[in-house]
């Protein structure tokens, strides 16, 4: 059995309130495991403990009790971060640096050689579609471009785990789609992803495992299929079905104990429709 990418055991985080006796429990007795190669969606309303959990995994906040590990290494140690790439929500980075200089800076922080940084930067800038903007200052980047350079810096040292906090927050639908495609690409390459997001539709599209936090407690966890499938219902989507075929299906249904819950034309998502109409040049 392989070592989990993230292992959280009985994690509790309590914040004292200054000048008061009260304390706030941000995370309570949380245990979860993210296996290598999974894309794990951590969901929850505001204040549910998602960010605290993520910060503890990254060693930015220390736990009150419990233990977190990244690929078997205690996540409070600096060494454990060799295997992690992190993209925070709405990152700004240093505006006076160009895209290439930003990657060089983060590459140096990871102890990479100049030659390695050069190669990785070239590869990542191509991957995130910023080859032509490599020498532009980040001050002139759009929100989507900033998120993509953020993803590139997170990947600079070839980490096995990516932690992404609302990676598409504030990005337009086309940019959002590009980021989602990148995450799916990382997944194909075997990189484990821990994704925190409010965009449930996006999580549904990308993640294979989901954990739902509420008031610091993990209330549900499992594969997406386990959690959201309606076990006693079946969905058939037919293409080019003739009225005769549909009539036969109805006849068969009438003879069985099954009940037809709904029959309708499938709809594309509004996002798909938006992308279709905005991707072509104006006529």
């Amino acid at each position: 059995m392989s070592t989990p990418a993230i292992s959280i055991q009985n994690l509790t985080k309590i914040y004292p309130i200054p000048f008061k006796r009260e304390k706030v429990t941000a995370v309570q007795d949380l245990s979860l495991t993210v296996e290598p190669g999974q894309v794990y969606g951590l969901l929850g309303p505001n204040g549910s403990g998602k960010s605290t959990t993520m910060k503890i995994v990254l060693g930015l906040v220390s736990p009150t009790s419990g233990r977190t590990e990244i690929f078997g290494r205690d996540s409070t140690t600096v060494e454990s971060r060799e295997d992690v790439g992190f993209l925070p929500e709405n990152p700004y980075f240093y505006k006076y640096l160009t895209g290439a200089e930003t990657l060089r800076f983060y590459g140096k922080l990871c102890g990479l050689s100049s030659a390695k940084i050069r190669d990785r930067s070239k590869e990542l800038l191509k991957l995130v579609g910023l080859e032509n903007a490599a020498d532009r200052r980040l001050a002139g980047y759009s929100k989507g471009m900033l998120q993509r350079i953020g993803l590139a810096q997170a990947m600079i040292q070839e980490p096995r785990l990516l932690v992404l906090d609302e990676p598409t927050a504030g990005v337009d639908p086309a940019g959002s789609r590009e980021i989602r495609d990148l995450i799916l690409d990382f997944k194909k390459r075997g990189i484990t992803v821990l994704l925190c997001s409010h965009l449930l539709e996006q999580v549904q599209e990308i993640c294979d495992h989901v954990g739902i936090l509420n008031h610091g407690v993990l209330i549900r966890e499992g594969t997406l299929e386990e959690l959201i499938s309606i076990q006693n219902q079946t969905e058939l989507i037919l293409e080019n079905a003739t009225p005769q075929l549909l009539a036969e299906i109805h006849t068969l249904l009438g003879k069985s104990n099954a009940r037809l819950v709904e029959e309708r034309k499938p709809q594309k998502t509004l996002e798909r429709y938006f992308l279709d109409v905005t991707s072509s040049p104006p006529s």
């Binding site: 925070p88 800076f105 991957l127």
Partner: protein, 296 residues
Amino acid sequence: MTATPTATKHKAFSLSRVSAIASNTLLELVRLKVFYFMLLFALLIIGSSFFTSKFTFQEQFQVLKDVSLGAMSIFTWLLAVLATAMLLPKDIEDRTLYTILAKPVPRFEYLLGKFIGVLALLFIAISLMSAVFMVVLYTREQDALANAARYVPDNALPDQLNSIRAASFNSNLLPGIVIIYLKSALCAALTLLLSTFASSWIFTVIMSVVVYLIGHIQPIARQAYLDSATTSHLTKVFLALVALIIPDLTSLSLVDDIVVGNAIPMLLFVKTAGLGVTYIGVYFLVGYFVFSGKEL
């Protein structure tokens, strides 16, 4: 690109990481256009030369040194406080701190890199100010030498030229400037320490100014209260504690000696510099101690 384990071995301390953070910090500060104050400095010392044209050359050199070294002291202090105060809050606000510390970068290296960046900025600033000061002093010296050659009788000329040279450049200038630099570095270390627990950069600046003032008035307070027989034991303990936490900043200045042309003994210089370096080290380490436990 595959998800294979990284082969790099983590180093507990890496100069390369520290220098990456330091050079980036320096670039960040330089881009804030902090060197505009150099213009003000140049105007101040050139302007002071005009007002002293009626003075004797000794007085002219004294005023020039007094104004220049005093301005250097104030400008480097202001630069140290303002540049350092915004470093940590800005990185936290922009979340760049998260992306840096989420890499294998120990907090000690991050803080050290930031501090070295500020020290480099102060070094550049004091070097530029010293260069402007030296150029103006050299120009005034050449003026005085030319005037002496014109108006002083030949038999008195060699003595006059020697006294002009002695009054302008002397070996005290360099140690004096080094101490000004150390004092500004100390203020930067103190500001960095304050910013590790302060909630905003404005609070940090205010606190830093307050501590600077306490550092300058504490010898007067010490003299007034510690030597007095009527001062309570508790007040004496409190004052001693303040004196320990905040150094006597008036002792971290050799400007008065330089201006009047007193020789600065090596022992005095070493003791003064040692005091400055010790406080810089202590403030930095306490700052690191606070920052290492900070919940981000």
